[in-house]
Structure formats: structure tokens, C-alpha cells
């Protein structure tokens, strides 16, 4: 549950979407705010379904949010 090779742009995308709050994103994706915090800090790699949900909440493709960093 820590040290994931999946990098993400969630924080940047939140600010680009009218400074969307973590709680608003969490509500849009059906997760807790603590999970968004863990994702932003790179401590948790989401499931494929959650990754799609997050990308959908921002209206972008999944590859615009997540990037796999080869260890």
C-alpha cells in the first residue's frame, strides 16, 4: 500500500479544474477523501476502475492522469 510506481497528475488537474477540492473529487469518484490524499502523495496505486473514474471526473483520458514509471 506504499511506494507505488504509478505516477499521477491529480493535484495539477484539480487546480486546472477550478481548484476542485479533494472532497469534491472523492465524491465524484465514490471514494473517501483520504484515498485521494494517498493517491496524490503517490502512496496508493488505484484499481483500473478507479483510475477510469478519476480520468472521467476530469474529462480526460486515463493516460493524461496516470503514468507508469518503470522501476
Amino acid at each position: 500500500m506504499s511506494g507505488t510506481p504509478v505516477d499521477n497528475q491529480i493535484r495539477r488537474l484539480r487546480f486546472e479544474h477550478g481548484e476542485m477540492t479533494q472532497q469534491a473529487l472523492a465524491d465524484a469518484c465514490g471514494v473517501t477523501r483520504q484515498t485521494i490524499i494517498a493517491l496524490e502523495a503517490g502512496r496508493y496505486a488505484p484499481s483500473l476502475e478507479l483510475a477510469f473514474r478519476i480520468a472521467h471526473a476530469f474529462g480526460v483520458g486515463i493516460e493524461d492522469v496516470f503514468r507508469w514509471e518503470k522501476p
Binding site: 500500500m1 506504499s2 472523492a26 465524491d27 465514490g30 471514494v31 473517501t32 477523501r33 483520504q34 484515498t35 494517498a38 502512496r43 496508493y44 488505484p46 484499481s47 478507479l50
Partner: protein, 209 residues
Amino acid sequence: MKIRYSPARFTAGLFAALIGFWFVFREPGPLDQSPLYAIGPLLLAIGSVVAAIQFSARPRTGVEEMAAPAEIDAWLALVYTGVLIAWLLSNASAFTVSWMGPDTRAASIALLQIVVVYVVISAVLRGRRGKAVLEDERDRAIRCSAARWGRHALIACVVVLLVVLGISPAYKLEWANPPAVAFLLFLGLLLGWLLENAATIVYYWRDRR
């Protein structure tokens, strides 16, 4: 009906619950022979419910913002499992030596009240959270990892009991009547649950660092 938060009522409830805890764990005295024997668990129950209702009406705090609902539930379960285990150990004779005696009845009522208080507090907390997401995939992953610890603790308890009962000579097993063995198995179950909740809290803590 909307309940307004009052720090005085919250403190009074908490204070009553603490006195209830003291009654539950105090040395047996003349009070136990009277119908007032249930005063401890009753105070614990009423105090906890009042405190929980007041807590539910309180504005959200920093801790609630920081901790996931499942983590708060794990803390609550850890405290109550700890209380239950401590209480069971301090009243072990009621469930083993004097099985089905008057002590067992009083102890069973107290035990039931502790469990009811836990259920009521959990329900109040659930009500407070409304339609918020209570558990997501990260919580489930943590719960799954923590459950392994609980399962292993339970297996260890059962194996230890099996070995003790299996290899001890008969004259050393006079204590091992069916209620005593059932009591130990129940204790093993609770220890497993205690470790599972403790592991859940550690996983959340590690995840936050």
C-alpha cells in the same frame, strides 16, 4: 429532531461512562447482592449513548477530516475489544468455575450491555456520516491485509489450546471442563479480532507517513 451539541452534556456522558467502566472493573462488594448490581453497565451504556449522540451532533473535527471512517471504526472496535477482553479475564471464574451460577447471570448481563453499547455507538457514528462513502477499495485492501493478522492470531490460539489439551497429562487438565474450554476459544476469537483492528490502525498509520 435536530440535536444541538452541548460540551457540558458530552462531558457529562463521558464522565458517566467512565464511572460505569470503574463499576464494571471494581472489586466485588455488597452492592452486587442487590438489584443495583447492574448500575455499572447501565451507567456505561447510558453515558456512552449520551456522549455518542452529542458527538454525532458536533461539527466535524480535524481528526475526522484526517482519518478515514473505516479507521475510526477500527479504533472504536479496538477499544471495545480491549475492554471486553479485560473484563472477561477479570470475570473468568463466572464463566468457568461457577458456571451457570448467579455470578454467570450477572456477568452475562454486563457482557451483553457492553456489546449493546458498542453496537449503539457504531450505529450513531454511521448515522452521523449520512450518505458519505464509508469504505472504498483502499479501505478494503487494508481490511484484507489486517484480516490476515487476525486469522493467524486465531489459528495460533487454537493450536496452543490443541497442544495444551492434547499433550498434557489428565491430572493436569482438571481445570479444562467444557465451559472453560469454550471460554478460552471465545477469548481466542476476541484476541484475533483485537489484533485485526490493531493491524488495521497500524496499516492506516503507515499509509499516512
